[in-house]
Amino acid sequence: MALMRFVGYFEWLFYSAFFMRYVINAMEQGKSFERIMTFLVITLVVFSLITLYNNYIENSFLPAQKVRISDKLSRMLIAKNRNVDISCFEDSDFYDKYTLATENADVRLCDTVNEIWGIVCGAISAVFAFVYMFEIDKMIGLFVLFPIVGNFFFGSLLSKIEFNRNKDMAIHNRRILYINRVMYMKEYSKELRLTKVFSMIKTHYDEAIQGISDVTGKYSFKGSILHWLKCMFTFCIIFEGSFLYGAYRALVSKTMPLSVLAVVTSMMVASSWILIYFADAIANSLKFGLFVDNLRGFLEHEPSIAEDYDGIDPGDTIEKIEFRNVSFSYKDKEIIHDMSLEIIGGKTYALVGHNGAGKSTIIKLLMRFYDPTSGAIYLNGRDIKEYNLQKYRRLFATAFQEQQIFAMSVKDNVLMRKTTNEDDGVVIEALKLAGVYDKVQTLKNGIDTMLTKEFDNDGAVLSGGEFQKIVVARAFVMDSPAKIFDEPSSALDPISENQLFENIMNNGKGKTMLFISHRLSSVQNADWVFMLENGRVIEEGTHKMLLDQNGVYADMYEKQAVNYLAVSENELRGRRELV
């Protein structure tokens, strides 16, 4: 690749300098036509070989090589990606850097290499052009300095202006992009029709355009002047200046032969373009430098929870899980405060509380997506950090709220591993328990139907509730000692919801169960309830104990129950006391 670049510059310089000089010299000196032709034929043969080599590199070698580079890079990036802890994805600084680094990383890596060679070859050619011109005539050589000043001095001043201008314009451009998004995304379509929000958007659009215009005005005078200077130095002074100087030498002092004058004219064009590309290559390399920095930063990042951590085998029974004085801060804000709780194997636990009370965080800590900031979590008396992470996680079957469906078959999506026909039975059973098997049966290929239209135009697109049920089926299918359900029923109608909870309870017999639900009616069957508020367990006990306690849980329960019971809150209390 490097050689190719180099040959490209060589060919250019050769033709505009050496070749032309030789031919015109020969003509002037009256050498025979045959001799000139011999030179021409040799040149052609040499260049045919060079072109052949270039074509081979460009058409055979590089296309395959680029894929190999991309493959290697993917392996490194994905391995890293799978090993970093999940908090990296939520740290927007890290994540931005990471996306910057990995987006089209393969293409950009090749470009970077290319650009580096561009700089090297550009520098060599520029030096060569300079030396060659200098050798022809010392004064002419000096003309090459002008494009250098134009490109590097004025060019850098100009890019500074452009940088500042883009920075000032960014907010307006962002607004235009945002408006664009609002105008075509489905989520906004209803409100665009039902309200007048469209006229507000139009006003914002006009304001953004006005803003761009204002920013432009701020930089336009300085920019225009610098642009003029850059162009004059890069093109005019060197071209017209060298013509004038050459004409002077040829006509007045009569010290320059025609051949050299011809070479000078075409060399000037070639060398100023070489310098322009050289300057561009340097400017680009700064951009690529940032990219390489980000890439390295990501690859060298040391995860605090390494996914491949190899520790003690946790076995396959859960006797006791304990949170001992666990605190957890996320983005400098403590969201779990000094929490201690105990979960006994084989029992059913419910976590309740407001949105944002810390319910899901507890589960994330338990799954070791994060580690506590202080305190520790113990499984069977041992800090969970000591266990082999993969094996530890396999103790839990989990159904989270915002889980994703993959572009794979229904069966693969439930089992989440390589599947065989022997798995059909368990998959169907799990789908039945999740209450979605009837729907799956109506699909073209039953449980082998592809989900999403990503690769298959016949792929099935299910409703939000149906996707949720498939996610829940993942938890049913796993034969693990503990099961965790985080709001499994939020998108379901009452009958399906009721059925689902019954199935969860039956399926979970003898297993350790932990679930989060807003429907307090489903919580009653739990052996133990933790009521959370602001990252603390404020009440715990059985459903009945908590009602008797008459605290926050009881209040919450009553608010939900009051309408169902069609009795006043006082009556409700009375009734409960009777029971």
């Binding site: 015109i24 000139i36 045919s48 074509n55 081979y56 058409n59 395959a64 994905i78 994805f89 939520e90 996306t99 201008r165 945002y178 408006i179 609002v182 075509y184 489905k186 379509s189 209803k190 409100e191 039902l194 507000m200 958007i201 914002h204 355009i209 761009i212 920019g223 225009s224 610098l226 642009h227 003029w228 004059m232 093109f235 005019c236 071209f239 017209e240 004038l244 050459g246 004409a247 002077y248 006509l251 320059m256 025609l258 011809a262 949105n355 997506f369 996680r393 889980q403 994703q404 591993r417 990503e454 409703s463 509730g465 993942r474 109608d493 009452p494 009616s521 009653q524 129950a561 019971l565």
Partner: protein
Amino acid sequence: MKETMSNHWFLWKLCFKATPKYMGFVIYDAIRYQLLVFIEHTLLIRYVLYCAEYHEPFYKAAIAVGLVFLAYVIAFGIDGYFRHKLELREKPKLYKALKEKLYNKAASIDLECYDNPDYYNDLVLSVAESDNTINRFLDLITLAIKSIMIFLTTGIFYILVDAVGLVFIFISFIASIFISKLLNKINFEVRNAINPLEKKKNYVNRTFYLKDYAKELRLHGEVGDILENDLYESNKEIVEIQKKAGGKRTLLSFIKDFVFSSFILDGLYVAYLIFKAVVLHAIDYSSAVVLFNRTGEMRRGMRDLSSVIPKANENSMYITKIRDFINYEPKIVSLSDKKIEESIGEISLEDVSFAYSENVPNTLNNITLKVKPGEKIAIVGYNGAGKTTLVKLLMRLYDPVSGTIKYAGQDIREYDIDEYRKNIGVIFQDFQIYGAMLSENVVMDDIDESDKVMREGVTNALIHSGFGDRLASFERGLDTPLTTEFDKEGINLSGGEGQKVAIARSFYKNAKVLIMDEPSSALDPIAEYSLNKAMEEMSVGKTVFYISHRLSTTRDADRIIMLEKGRIIEQGSHDELIALGGKYNEMWEAQAGKYYA
């Protein structure tokens, strides 16, 4: 061809109307560039060499050089103004001219277009390609003018000095085009073979770098292995495909780059020039140098000109899509411009049926329903029973396939559609908060920030919806920017808070008919409770339609409509339906039963 012309003419008119100055400049710039290049690199060089060859006086050469220099002094000055002022200022206007047409259409087309994937893809593509289409159009203008200019300048120069040169260039050009066609065919085949593999690769890469999938990949490691394996297999296949095509491509490129290019122009043509100069003495050295130097330029002119038409055709495809979109006639329009009366009217559905498209079963079947002014209607039923569809018909987001919906005795299609919708307040679960000020998010219209009446109205609406305390905590009050989209100090509301702002919209609008579609399903019990209180307050004296899965929130309705498979199967008050002992009763028991414990 005709379509290509008419499409670009359409774009030209649009652009020229938006900014005549800029469009004029684009044309000037292309002509100026090519003209000066010709004068400098062909005429000037030749003249200076000519002066040297025939020993003309120095001042002649000096004047020629000076004139060109002066031309550049002026041209670069104008250039600076163009790039650093005019272009930056006018281009957004150009984009806007087309975008505005698209946006206006997007805001008025029928909602059903969003359900139709073909149509929706057209919308997304039109919007996404709108700026690019204009850029391509501008490039096309520049390219066409520049290449025509090359013919008018360098081309004529060749004819005058040595027309034979054109033959060499032309042969080289035609032969290269022929080879390029073959090459393109191979590349096209390669691309076709690679595309599905690239799609797979992209998908795998996406699952790894999007945070949405991070949890699954950690909980189910084996899925990651499957995906990774897919990626590596795809890479292997691509390498094979590239390898297979490599030999042929190398050979063809060599023929194109060497045999039909270097060999003809740097070999044969140079030999011809030297022969003419040395043996025949039929041409002067200065002309020979310039002719040789300009072969590349001439060839580029031919190549560019021949690429204008395919490029125009490609751009035309996008313009056609955009124009089709702009020309789409929405079906849901006001049949006449009847105004809505001040008092609340009765709503009646007469034998209404509806299907989302022709080949799917009806979502609603023969619904007949009369709703008295001020009546509170609850709509309940399983997922997919048609509840949301029913209210969407009431809002005229869709029109029934058969049957009519009347408001105050008048078919709702007869009303001015904006007027009619103004009459309805809607609260969804999937409301949106906009990157704008809090007041704008409530008014949902263009506002004058200093309008006192508006400010008071918005404040009241927010207090009524239960957002008062939060509002009081904002330093900038109603002017607080929402979302961090544009303002680092912007406020991101929680789900419950956002819902309150959405409710405030209906308070502010003071609509006579309220439609609430599961507004509370994402909220925790306490937030749900306070939301219900707010909605209760708002409902006073209004006709209300309320959809909910939580039967506890619907039991106080005047009438409960139980839907199943698009039909009304039961209706009546809560007590009546319980006494009936049908489906509603069953559903109620399922939910409420546990609370009796």
